[in-house]
Symmetry: C2
Subunit: 333 residues, 2 copies
Amino acid sequence: MTGRQPTLDEVAERAGVSRGTVSRVLNNRQHVSAKARRAVEQAIDDLGYVPSVAARSLASARRGAVVLAISSDDPALFANQFFAQVIAGVNTVMEDTDLHLMLILAATERGRERLERVLQSRGADGVMLLALRENDPLVKVAEAGKVPVVYGGQPLERAPRFYVDADNRGGARSAVEYLISTGREHIATITGPQDQQVGVARYLGYREALALAGLDARRVAHGDFSQESGARAMTELLDRHGDLDAVFVASDAMAAGALEALSAAGRTVPDDVAVVGFNDIVTAQHTTPTLTTVRQPIEALGREMTRMLLRAINEDTPTPLILPTELVLRDSA
Amino acid sequence: MTGRQPTLDEVAERAGVSRGTVSRVLNNRQHVSAKARRAVEQAIDDLGYVPSVAARSLASARRGAVVLAISSDDPALFANQFFAQVIAGVNTVMEDTDLHLMLILAATERGRERLERVLQSRGADGVMLLALRENDPLVKVAEAGKVPVVYGGQPLERAPRFYVDADNRGGARSAVEYLISTGREHIATITGPQDQQVGVARYLGYREALALAGLDARRVAHGDFSQESGARAMTELLDRHGDLDAVFVASDAMAAGALEALSAAGRTVPDDVAVVGFNDIVTAQHTTPTLTTVRQPIEALGREMTRMLLRAINEDTPTPLILPTELVLRDSA
DNA sequence: GTGAAAGCGCTAACAC
DNA sequence: GTGTTAGCGCTTTCAC
């Protein structure tokens, strides 16, 4: 349309005020008379002025963007709805700000280098980290930058300053307690990776519930959160513990795999074996039978991570947040 | 660690050359002696220098980022693996560049405004658009910016200058031709939304195949790509066309829903009714029975969109690209 | 092949 | 409450 973007100077001239005043209006500071403010707003409208992000961030040392770094780029894992829901939550909060979202899939060495460069070049005002593994190099990279870091879930090593997590241990525990309350006594579990805090926490919840009830907590097989690994682990459990009458599975995807394996083994769910999953992904409503599961507020996780990061950026000091989970009863238990 | 980021000036001083020379090295231009180049690289290493993105983009009028705008923020849809796979593809190509990825979920008015602002403020060097609907306002917004726009899929209205698309019509046609070749004669379809080009194209392919075979193409129900809508549409089809012996479903998610509905109606798959889906998402391997489907190269779509955008940004003139699809035979047909 | 100078468009600090 | 002055850290001309 117009040949060139108008600059702040042109707005100032047209409004008949100084550059300083225009800048004040743009960043809605005080110390501007209503009259001047109106004149500036008018001029902005007339000219269709939009401030240059580049100039602004050079002058203000703020970048106008935060990065969400995900320690996975395996589409099969990345695709598991979880990330998409987190992103949707992040987006919701971001929409109310001037900040933008940069996405970095940082599973590879290359991705990590990129994150490093962004942070070193002050390319972002903050970082959110998701899906970390044990000793994830991402942690060092992120902490080496000079911007706040918010964790989704906790690294296994030590609790960071800022994080949002679901109550994984409590959720797992209540799932197993529910199984116990329905009279199950030989309760197995399929865990997530034990090099991720979330995997460990859910396993802990399982053991806690059984310990409290004085039941045996040694029917255990490990998976990696994928459907395939769930099927494999279930088969393994059936081999080793033919007597099991229930299984708590640390993710819905694995639970779906477990259902397949149970069906293949000729066990009916929930009559022979009760199954409880974790996450309440959309798929949980479409398995056969539908899946009883522990819902964690995934979108809320994204929202709260973002809120926390924004507060940290503004030099507020947010405190870690644990989001509650909820048992959703369907047909599998 | 260090108090402050080193600047280009400091690198120049340490290397004993001018700022101009350092800049030339950084942007690996010619006209730099091997000696000077080495000195500069050494200094960069010693100082741990990383150029400031902000300063660079202010001076060069290049932003160092491209945006991927998705016309959907419904997590249920956004989560449907498709987007995640595209993003993974985009990421792959992006890793080889200095560009970064900004993600904007732009289904809401608010999101659209944000995209508009980014583009107007020259906040990005290019845009990729995904999942457009009929008369999607995103198109106007994106085209109004002064940066190249690459479409994933085509808008319904008119073919844009730059786009990457899967061969939806051809894929649908080959799916239906396969059904015909296995002796099916009463072939229905569950379409996607007819206000999206992809929905229309797949429906066209269905009709084309049947027309060529001289078969009736009027067993049609419409869905919105969601699993629920697939189940609903299947029920509808069974009501209206009790004689159907096959159904081509325009997405795997809908096909999963259709399988549920068929099972609920007591029809066996594939004996009573053969089912073919579209996309080959991970879930297709885990339905009962497993799903015969048309695979489209989703990650490749992301990769090629990105490559095309990069070329367009560099003032090359790429031509539209149609990616081939492939029929994947499993148990449902 | 290299150096010097002039901005890019904004914010911030200080004076009034 | 408002105007003025310096930069922010690069790239880019244009001489040499």
